[in-house]
């Protein structure tokens, strides 16, 4: 691969110029927008793996390993799910088809170990309160939850463990670090102003949100994604306006059609297929200020710019192929190093890319903006007894630089 990595110029607040050095770094870890957890290294190595590097949350992706059920209890007052045919049986069939298609969006991406066979048959459950921390992955359309407020349409709660051997309810025992032990999707059934429509019903329900777009986004969380800052991505936190939908509809020929390349790249990072020979490119580098004195003194050992949003664009199509929040790397046994590193993995080869970068301007503390960087460090303040050699403190994001390309 010969990516056309552009060199950026960074201007510090005092118009000092600094250069971004693009180098090959084998050890840098991508800070892509994933839900992640730091293993509890206070536990024996057999349970924690012994490394304080962040681990991405993910589902086990063996054959039939991912079980999903959905609650057939539906809100009738207000009607929160609008279908084309409102008889009970066909209503359920129509909703189930949307769920199946939305799952197939994520299992239809090439270059990943997620495929239709990794999903167990979709199950129905009649209980209204099917969602909860019980070790069973559930989708609920009529379960009022105390977390909902106006402005929150649906959410996915994901539970991971920072040590092996953990179990929730009757769910599987954690055999991999970062394994998702329970993921539930909640739709708000209580707001009379909000309704979701299946693709068949959407044309005649312009005030409703597209159920398929919302569910596909939520299933992205189910598979381990956080939100994306790329607005064409499925994982962008705001969905299309009522009456419209995200991307093209899935088809048999292209079940992953609603996804953007950014989503596909993320999925390949989460569930890499060892046999994939196409999406194996990497662009990595470090963002360094020309004047090292501009780096923060506290916390110690910050050697590069932290908190830059880095985006790789396909030069030919202009499509966003990948994005990451850069500025750190981690090699076992950890902890994370704030050395300005970024890494964009699993890029299609034989293409040229343009790389853009932007500070997370306005950040109070990166620990509050995204789980992608909130979970980079643990220490004795957050976790009593944490070993000092594997402790770190997440620095404030560097927001005092601007970028220009040349």
């Amino acid at each position: 691969m010969k990516p056309a990595c552009q060199t950026f110029l960074y201007r510090l607040s005092s118009i000092l110029l600094s250069a971004l050095f693009v180098t090959a770094t084998a050890q840098s870890a991508a800070g892509y927008a994933f839900n992640q957890v730091i293993p509890d290294v206070r536990q024996p190595v057999s349970l924690s793996g012994g490394s304080a590097c962040p681990v991405r949350a993910h589902q086990l992706s063996a054959s039939s390993s991912i079980a999903v059920r959905w609650s057939t209890a539906l809100s009738t007052s207000p009607v929160s799910i609008i279908t084309q045919n409102q008889t009970t049986a066909t209503r359920l069939t129509e909703i189930e088809q949307v769920i199946s298609e939305s799952l197939a969006v994520w299992t239809g991406v090439t270059g990943t170990t997620l495929n239709p066979a990794t999903l167990a048959p979709l199950a129905r459950v009649s209980s209204q309160n099917a969602c909860g921390s019980d070790g069973l992955n559930s989708i609920c359309f009529d379960q009022a939850d105390m977390a909902f407020t106006p402005g929150v349409l649906a959410f996915t709660r994901v539970i991971t463990s920072d040590a092996l051997g953990e179990q929730i309810g009757s769910g599987p025992i954690a055999t991999q670090l970062g394994q998702i032990l329970d993921a539930d999707v909640y739709f708000d059934p209580t707001d009379s102003q909000i309704a979701f429509a299946t693709p068949a019903a959407l044309p005649t329900s312009p005030q409703a949100y597209d159920l398929q777009s919302v569910l596909t986004h939520e299933l992205g969380h189910f598979f381990g994604f956080s939100h994306s800052a790329v607005w064409s991505a499925m994982m962008y936190p705001y969905a299309p306006a009522p009456g419209t939908f995200t991307g093209p509809r899935p088809t048999l020929q292209q079940p992953d059609a609603p996804l953007a390349d950014d989503d596909r790249t993320g999925l390949r990072i989460l569930y890499p297929d060892p046999g994939d020979a196409v999406n194996v490119g990497t662009i990595s580098g470090r963002i360094l200020p020309a004047n090292p004195l501009s780096l923060p003194l506290s916390p110690p050992n910050v050697t590069g710019i932290f908190g830059a949003h880095v985006v790789a664009l396909d030069q030919a199509s202009g499509a966003v192929i990948a994005a990451t929040i850069g500025g750190w790397s981690c090699a076992a046994p950890g902890p994370a190093q704030f050395d300005g590193a970024y890494e964009l993995d699993h890029l299609p080869i034989n293409r040229s890319y343009t790389v853009y970068a932007e500070p997370l301007d306005g950040v109070v503390s990166p620990a509050q903006i995204s789980p992608a960087i909130a979970t980079l460090c643990r220490n004795s303040a957050t976790d009593p007894g944490w070993p000092p050699l594997q402790a770190c403190v997440v620095p404030s994001a560097n927001i005092s630089f601007t970028t220009r390309t040349r």
Binding site: P150, G151, V230, L313, S365, Q368
Partner: protein
């Protein structure tokens, strides 16, 4: 650049701006979030206040893990609030289990925020619209000035059409201007 070229360039900029506005307006819905305007937040909230985070604790209830954060009320902008309030958000940590929902605000001890609060009778306060109803206060240590930034406006959004980053929401607004904006929004709702 000639006058004609400059005029043509300015027209292109103007039309591009209109296009961008149109695109922005189209994104009024949400997957996890329905986009709430500042005025919506002001009108739909039960209370608005400047708060200081005191502590957080996790608890299981109704099969879910919750974070309950205690705040000291520093300034009341809307609603009746006691001196100390508790705000509940979904997610948290219990033993080795980490329960997480994207878009839920997390608060640090000692930090100050403006929160748009929402409640149902008999239940703890929630943050209206989660990240959208959370406005963090940053104090510049050198100048002493305070600015306000909305959680949902923190990350730049990359627009593939224009190949540019852009920001939305309230970012780095001086506290005095934020309060003015808040007062106006609250008055409009009355």
């Amino acid at each position: 650049m000639s006058f004609a070229q400059r005029r043509k360039f300015l027209w292109i900029c103007f039309l591009a701006g209109l296009l961008l506005l149109g695109i922005t307006a189209a994104f009024t819905g949400a997957t996890t979030f329905a986009r709430l305007r500042f005025e919506d937040l002001a009108q739909q909230s039960s209370a608005v206040a400047r708060l200081r985070c005191l502590s957080s604790e996790f608890r299981w209830e109704r099969g879910e893990l919750w974070t309950e954060t205690r705040f000291e009320v520093l300034e009341r902008n809307k609603g009746l609030l006691s001196g100390i309030i508790t705000v509940r958000t979904i997610g948290g940590i219990s033993g080795h289990l980490h329960s997480h929902v994207d878009g839920v605000p997390i608060f640090r001890q000692g930090e100050e925020v403006y929160l748009f609060l929402w409640e149902r009778p008999g239940e703890p306060y929630r943050v209206l619209g989660w990240a959208q109803g959370t406005f963090r206060i940053v104090r510049n240590e050198n100048s002493g000035t305070e600015t306000v930034t909305q959680d949902s406006a923190l990350a730049p959004i990359f627009d593939p059409r224009t190949h540019a980053f852009r920001h939305g929401g309230i970012r780095n607004l001086p506290v005095a201007l934020f309060e003015l904006k808040l007062r106006k929004a609250l008055e409009q709702g009355n």
